[in-house]
């Protein structure tokens, strides 16, 4: 009892310190880095839109609320679809589904990639040989055609099945990058000293190696999310997803079915398309910025300043300055 009271303020100050370091890091990441600012703000807008879809949307996305193909007006900000659905509400709710599928696929893919990549890179020998072989085989298989065929054979699959399929087919690239990075740090002194101290392999992998892979893993994760989003949109557009669910992919499908572009109802097709485009582009900008921060060699102009600043912060924290 006494103990917990005594440690409370200490914990609090520690928490505050962590917060301030995180804040400083964020500030350093964004200052003089317009791509990062643009990317993160775009993603924030999209995420908030998805999160507050029920509040922001003016109509039920699944209900017929207007006449077919009403042009954008005050009542229906982005017009209506051929089936009389409100496009604005659909794009908000669609964001939820599309983002959920892509994030879920990204998480599955990166989990497999980490498991295979780190094990392969750290263990070496026969294990590495076999795992690397499997990775390379998966890598040369055309994933998207395979995905199309699988989705088609399983019949109008739900979005979560698509996420799982995507996750299980898109890990090899990440595994390859993680493997080579693991091999690069495998023989560094801190790993060897951990081995000499008799730490278990699991602990070395989790505590010593993984933290050094974070930027690569996160970069791979964002890359997979972008790819998964494109694939989900593609499957939806081809009518291979569940067309009754509202996602950006299924919106494209209905816009295609109603030949909205030919009848002049561009909003039905272009709204989900532009939503997909902005999300993909924004994620790519974030990915690029992270790459430049985690890889000091790539720093250019403003980034060099940024790196010097971050370096200064670190040294100050260590008490060197």
């Amino acid at each position: 009892m006494n103990n917990s009271i005594a440690s409370a303020p200490n914990q609090q100050s520690q928490f505050r310190q962590t917060c301030s370091t995180v804040w400083m890091k964020c500030k350093a990441f964004f200052s003089g880095n317009p791509p990062a600012i643009i990317g993160v703000s775009l993603i924030m807008v999209i995420l908030l839109g998805a999160l507050f879809a029920p509040i922001l949307s003016s109509h039920n996305p699944d209900k017929r609320v207007a006449r077919p193909h009403v042009a954008p007006n005050a009542e229906h900000i982005l017009g209506s679809t051929r089936n009389g659905r409100d496009v604005f509400s659909q794009v908000l709710y669609g964001a939820r589904k599309t983002l959920a599928v892509s994030l879920f696929a990204g998480i599955i893919a990166m989990s497999i990639a980490i498991a295979v990549g780190v094990t392969s890179g750290y263990m070496g020998g026969k294990v590495d040989e076999w795992m690397n072989f499997a990775t390379n085989v998966f890598l040369v298989f055309p994933q998207l055609p395979l995905l199309i065929v699988l989705a088609a054979f399983l019949g109008q699959v739900g979005s979560m099945v698509i996420a799982v399929l995507l996750g299980f087919t898109s890990w090899p690239w990440g595994a390859r990058v993680i493997r080579s990075q693991t091999m690069a740090i495998r023989n560094k002194e801190f790993i060897i000293s951990a081995e000499v101290m008799g730490e278990s392999k699991i602990r070395i992998i989790l505590v010593e190696i993984l933290p050094n892979l974070i930027s690569i893993v996160f970069g791979g994760f964002l890359g997979t999310v972008i790819y998964a989003m494109g694939a989900e949109a593609a499957l939806g557009f081809l009518g291979l997803g569940d067309a009754t669910e509202v996602s950006w992919g299924s919106m494209l499908y209905w816009a295609q079915v109603s030949s909205s572009l030919y009848t002049g109802a561009w909003w039905e097709m272009l709204v989900p398309a532009i939503a997909l485009a902005l999300t993909g582009g924004a994620l790519a900008l974030i990915n690029m910025s992270i790459d430049q921060v985690s890889n000091p060699k790539l720093k250019t102009g403003p980034h060099l300043k940024l790196w010097k600043k971050m370096n200064h912060e670190t040294e100050k924290r260590r008490g060197l300055v």
Partner: protein
């Protein structure tokens, strides 16, 4: 030489795995493959014809293992049976008709994107503190990461429908007879601009960033500084000294991009109604044409493997050290 031999044996093994997967695919699917196969043809064919086809596909008799051996045989003899969708045309013929168009799209756009991307990457690394280096790479990263389907749809809408500049469907004007006439080639080129353009747009950022990152690393080397100190022209330093060495990691990335390019071609073909494999694949899927689907997957795997081998050859040519 041993490097190439090792690669070849890897590709052969990968090919065998692909065949096995291809064999298992319809057999793993829910429902009886034979029923699915003939559901579309029900009522259109007489029973005797259907029995003959069943026998041809090896679905009827023999153990699982015998069927497998028969399938492998049929793959290596290119005797994949007739298509259900376009009965009685041979699957091999159907695929053979559309494969060249997909290769044209996929490899053509890959090569163009590679050349443009590597040039932009080189220049933006060399001028990385200037306006070009600061602005162009992020701009391309943004533009290039639109999903394939979205880029294709946007180009389709703006250049095809709104401006009516370019044709919206088919590989060439259907009223023309294929041949080596100027008119026909012109028509093919005109029909390829939009689909290829959308694929180039999606593919380009990979090369810009691969090249740029490799280039920035090389530019820090002493021999580049030396070349600059000697007073060589910046063109010479950029391409002869730094670029030549920076391109090695880019060459490794080509192998991976080939698969993506073929996948992208399949999506693009559907949007622009381009008569390649992607279009046929989708039609085959809709008709549950298993033999056709299997053949297309097989030919895609083969194309990717062959293209990978070519990328390996390219790598050996660029960096002779690797063949030892």
């Amino acid at each position: 030489m041993s490097f190439l031999l090792r690669r070849l044996s890897f590709y052969f093994t990968a090919f065998l795995i692909a065949i096995s997967f291809n064999f298992l695919l319809p057999r793993m699917m829910p429902g009886n493959p034979i029923d699915a196969l003939f559901a579309a043809a029900q009522g259109k064919m007489d029973p005797a014809q259907m029995d003959a086809i069943k026998e041809m596909y090896g679905f009827m008799d023999g153990s699982f293992f015998e069927q497998y051996i028969a399938y492998i045989q049929s793959v290596f003899t290119l005797d994949l049976g007739p298509s259900v969708l376009m009965f009685p045309i041979d699957v091999t013929t159907v695929v053979g008709m559309s494969l060249p168009w997909t290769m044209f799209l996929a490899l053509g756009s890959l090569i163009v994107a590679l050349i443009i991307g590597v040039s932009i990457g080189t220049y933006s690394a060399y001028r990385r503190d200037g306006f070009f280096g600061q602005f162009v790479p992020p701009f391309l990263a943004f533009l290039s990461n639109f999903p394939y389907i979205v880029t294709a749809l946007l180009l389709f809408y703006f250049f095809g429908l709104e401006l009516e500049l370019l044709p919206l469907a088919y590989t060439y004007d259907p009223s023309l007879a294929p041949g080596f006439s100027l008119e026909f080639i012109g028509s093919v080129a005109k029909h390829a601009i939009l689909p290829m353009g959308s694929m180039i747009l999606v593919g380009i950022a990979t090369w810009v960033f691969n090249m740029r990152n490799a280039m920035i690393n090389v530019l820090g080397e002493d021999y580049v500084t030396m070349a600059e100190a000697k007073g060589l022209s910046s063109y010479r330093v950029m391409y002869r000294y730094a670029g030549r060495n920076a391109i090695l990691p880019v060459a490794t990335a080509i192998a991976m991009a080939i698969g993506f390019s073929f996948a992208g071609s399949i999506m693009t073909e559907v949007v622009f109604n381009y008569q390649g494999l992607g279009n046929i694949l989708l039609k085959g899927i809709m008709a549950r044409d298993y033999p056709l689907i299997q053949a297309i997957l097989l030919i895609l795997v083969t194309a990717v493997l062959v293209a990978n081998f070519i990328a390996d050859l390219l790598y050996v040519w660029l960096d002779p050290r690797i063949s030892k």
